[in-house]
Each structure stands twice: as C-alpha cells, then as structure tokens.
Symmetry: C2
Subunit: 304 residues, 2 copies
C-alpha cells in the first residue's frame, strides 16, 4: 500500500515542553520508531506539523536587532521544514537502515482570492499589548486581534490547492524512497498568471495538505496521527465516547472545532469521499492498529 502519514505538531514538541533542541530531537526519534512497522511493509510519505517551531522562529526573528524587520512567514516556515525534516530523515534512517530516506522542501499553492485572506484567524508570533499591536499593524500591514488578555498577529489559513513538488515526490516514491515532505502544510505560495511562484504570508493546515497529496499521489491510505487515541463525540465532557468508525457525512455533522479536531476530521472526510481509500485518525503510538482499523477513528465515504 501507499500511505500518507501526517504527524501532529504535538508529536514533535509535547504540550508544555520548552522548545529546546534535545527534547524535540528525541520526540522525533520516538515518532520515527512508531512508524517502523508501517514502513517495513508499505510505501510511506511522511508529512508533519510545524506550529510550535514556526512560532519560536517568528519570535526570535522579531527580537533580532540586526534585522530591519522580522522575516516573513514563508522563509520562517521554510526554516522549520529544514529543522524538522532533518531530524525526521535522520531518525527514519536510523530506525530503517535499509530504506533510502529524504526530506524535501515543499511549496503549496493557495489562491489570493481565498476568503481566508479577508478573515485571517490563525495567531502567530509574540503577544503584545493592544497599543503596540495596533502600531505594528499599521507599520507592517499586519492584522492583529485579541488572544485572551494579550494581542497577537493573525494570518490567513487558506485552502491548499496544489503541492508544487508533487511530481518529484511521486518519482521518489516510485523509486522506493521514503519521502518526508509538506512540513507545516507546505510553504504557502501564490501562482501568478505567468506561472511564477511567490511566497505569501499565511499558514496552511498540514492535514488538509496531506489529504490533497494523498489524493493526488493515488495513496491507498491517509493516516492522521496525533497524541489522542480517537475522535470523540463530545471531547472533554463526561459523556464523550470514542468513534470507531463513521461516514464522512456523519462525522462532519458533529461540527468539530477549528482549533481542535476540525481540520483532521475535514481532511479525513475529503480523502474518504474523494478516493474511497482508508482515512483514519488516531494515536501515533498505535500507527499499525490505526491502519488496520483496530484503533483510532476510521472515516468511510458518505453514502449516496
């Protein structure tokens, strides 16, 4: 089988952990170990989140006195591809000594007319007081919004439309190479009328890009692996219960929150509806059981 795996950002930097290098490297190694049994039997394409890491680099860049202005999000995202891609490819090499492994930088095309650009919703970078946030909004053409008691920059999270490196990823997978790619959903770019690409200040949901890539590469399965064991009907409440299997239609009717299971559920539903392939959400440590349907939440195509 050809399987696209999406690793949640929390698999790489655990909640509450400092963003130091060593714990992240160790977490990435554990993630790689959790994928060994799958990689032994299947073609794997591994994608990953980058939320905490891009936040750290955005803050460092904002604090750098050598810079006239902080780096935009597209080069910062590319830096996190380098960082996480390096750790992942080294760890996968170490646990799978007979596989060729490589990490690719990936660009993902979005539409400048995507409504997300008029209603940005994703917080990035440091917190400010309201006055400082409004001053930066004017100076840097940012959108800012309250986040709890503080203010932060908000950016758009547009729909992923095309993974620019798709055909290279296909060539490598066809040649038996385990590919790490589409980190953080890929670096968001616009494609102009003449075909040229330009980076854009946005973040893309990594699970939606993974679903797009899985569909385009003709993958048999899309596994969205995170630190929870299954999608639950009423997460965080006493009456919550795990969902073992549901149609895309049923799952969407629950209305999972954007900040929680929403994007994972939407990504799994799209892949199931568009391809009829295996789409599942579950714990990284149960990876093989999630593929087999013995753990996690399996999403099947809507009826009719």
């Amino acid at each position: 089988m050809r399987i696209v795996v999406a690793l949640g950002g929390n698999a790489l930097l655990h909640r509450g952990e400092r963003p130091d290098a060593e714990p992240q490297r160790r977490n990435v190694l554990h993630a790689a170990e959790a994928l060994v049994s799958l990689a032994g039997e299947h073609e794997l394409i591994v994608t990953h989140g980058n939320g905490p890491q891009v936040g750290v680099l955005a803050m460092e860049s904002a604090a750098d006195p050598m810079l006239s202005r902080p780096f935009p999000l597209d080069p910062l995202g590319a830096e996190t591809h380098g960082l996480i891609g390096y750790w992942l490819m080294q760890s996968l090499h170490n646990v799978l000594p007979h596989r060729r492994v490589v990490a690719l930088l990936t660009q993902c095309v979005v539409d400048c007319a995507d409504p997300a650009f008029t209603h940005p919703t994703k917080f990035v970078g440091p917190t400010y007081d309201e006055a400082a946030a409004r001053a930066l909004a004017t100076e840097r053409n940012w959108v800012v919004a309250p986040d709890g008691d503080a203010w932060r920059r908000v950016v758009a999270s547009p729909e992923p439309l095309e993974v620019v490196e798709e055909s290279v990823i296909r060539t490598l997978t066809d040649n038996g190479v385990l590919v790490v790619c589409a980190g953080g959903g890929g670096v968001p770019v616009l494609r102009h009328a003449d075909g040229t690409l330009e980076g854009v200040e946005a973040v893309i949901d990594k699970d939606l890009t993974a679903a797009l890539l899985a569909e385009r590469l003709g993958a048999d399965a899309l596994l969205l692996l995170t630190d929870v064991s299954a999608v639950e009907t009423n997460y965080g409440h006493a009456d919550s219960s795990p969902i073992a299997v549901a149609t895309a239609e049923e799952l969407r009717s629950f209305g999972f929150a954007t900040g929680s299971m929403g994007p994972k559920v939407e990504a799994a539903c799209r892949f199931a509806d568009r391809t009829g392939g295996v789409a599942a959400i579950g714990s990284l440590t149960d990876a093989a059981a999630v593929l087999a349907g013995a753990a996690g939440t399996r999403v099947i195509a809507s009826r009719g």
Copy 2:
C-alpha cells in the same frame, strides 16, 4: 553535461548587507537568473553556502529567552538549508518554468577522529568579552578564541567523507530534476559502527562537499561561482594577476589562505586530479563563460 555548481555565500548575502529577508531573496533570484543558460543545456546540481545565515540563526538562538541553551549547529544548519533551499528552488522554478526543481536536505558524514576536532578554527555566532567567552566554554563545552578585539566560539571544519543522500540526488538527476542540495556543505553527522547517524557540532566547507558530490555523481564539470572573476596570483596586491588556467599542482603551490581562495582552490584541484573533468572558479555572472573556459580560472589535472 552533468554539472555541479557551488554558489558562494556572498552571492546570497552581499558583503555589508543587513541579513534581512528581502535583499537575500532578491540576490537568490539574481543567482538563479545567472544559471539559466547553463540549466537550459545541461543537468545541474546546485549547492550553496550558508555562513552568514547560520551566523544569524546562531545569534538569534543564543538570545532566545525561551531556550535552556542555544540550538546546536546541526539543527541551525538544517534551518538554513530550509531557508536558502526554498528561495533557490522557487527562483529556479520561476526562471526555468519547464524544469522540475527540488531542494533536498543533505547530511554529510565526517570522521570523529578528524584532526579538525582537536584544532577547531571556524568562528561561529556572537562575540563576547574574554570572561564571558571562557564561562560559556566551561558551561557548554565550547572552544573559544580571540577574533580581533573580541572572543568567539570556534568549531571544527572536518573533511566531508560521504553525502548521505547521494543516491537520492542521483535518482532525481537521472530523472531530469534540477536538484538544490548540500547547503553549507551538508549538515555534519557522524556515522556510528552500527550505521546510525548523529549530528555533530561542526561546519563543513561547502566547496569541498561540492567536489566530493561532483566526483561521486560522475559530473563532467565542477563550477565554483563567487563574486570574484578569477583566482589571482597575489590577490589584493598591485602586482596581482588573474590565472586563466593552471594545473592543480601549480595552483596548490601558491598556498592560498584558508579564509580566502584556499578551500575553492583545493576543491577544484581535487576534482581535476581525481576525475580529469572541468574544474573552474569564477564569477557567478560569468557562469557560461567560466564553463567554456572564456572567463575565470580553469584547473587541470596535475601532470604525471
């Protein structure tokens, strides 16, 4: 022809320029434009420096109050691969719309017994006063040394022995993909007896890695492109004169300085002596003429 090109770090961040994102992106685009005529006729593998960029990230990491200690050089180097690789692959895509282009993260194996580790020579990161430098040396197991009036950390610059992703680079090149790789000479790693890899705090000379890669990939030419038009006999002096062509033996006899043309000359000499292929050093803006022998310095194999 199959050509390995090494772009000098100064092609990406000009001397004296602030390390802001926008001028670097623009410089990278100009570098890509300078490679269009070569890429139109030949297979290209593009490598690049990362000295200024890794310095910036090392300083930002050292100043980050969220971290218990600054990131080691291997993940910082990987971040610069992401950054420069992204700009390069996007720019090359924009000037070569019909070529598939990709940027790969690259690891380069070095030997822990390399004498460079006992005599580190490469300055990295911020400057300190002597007392602070000595305190950090104790705390972080660094080697520090005077750099002009200030003190800085020094790290080893060991010999590149093996590009871990060599066979993936060959697969992609054989399939017509223009590959950007081996940024900053590759992330330095040790290979343990059981075959596993581990990052190591060092920097690798990017031109020496480019020469190794060119030899291993069976390249016909190695072009080391920078911001000077040729190697000169007595650079910076009134009686200096450009060298159009010389044997490796003759060039080595000049004893070029490690901090100046030394590594480029050594890289070109190794490739010429080991393969008999075209090895040349010259200006990025003259790339096609340097390949043709009409500009720059051509290095030919030593006689006998």
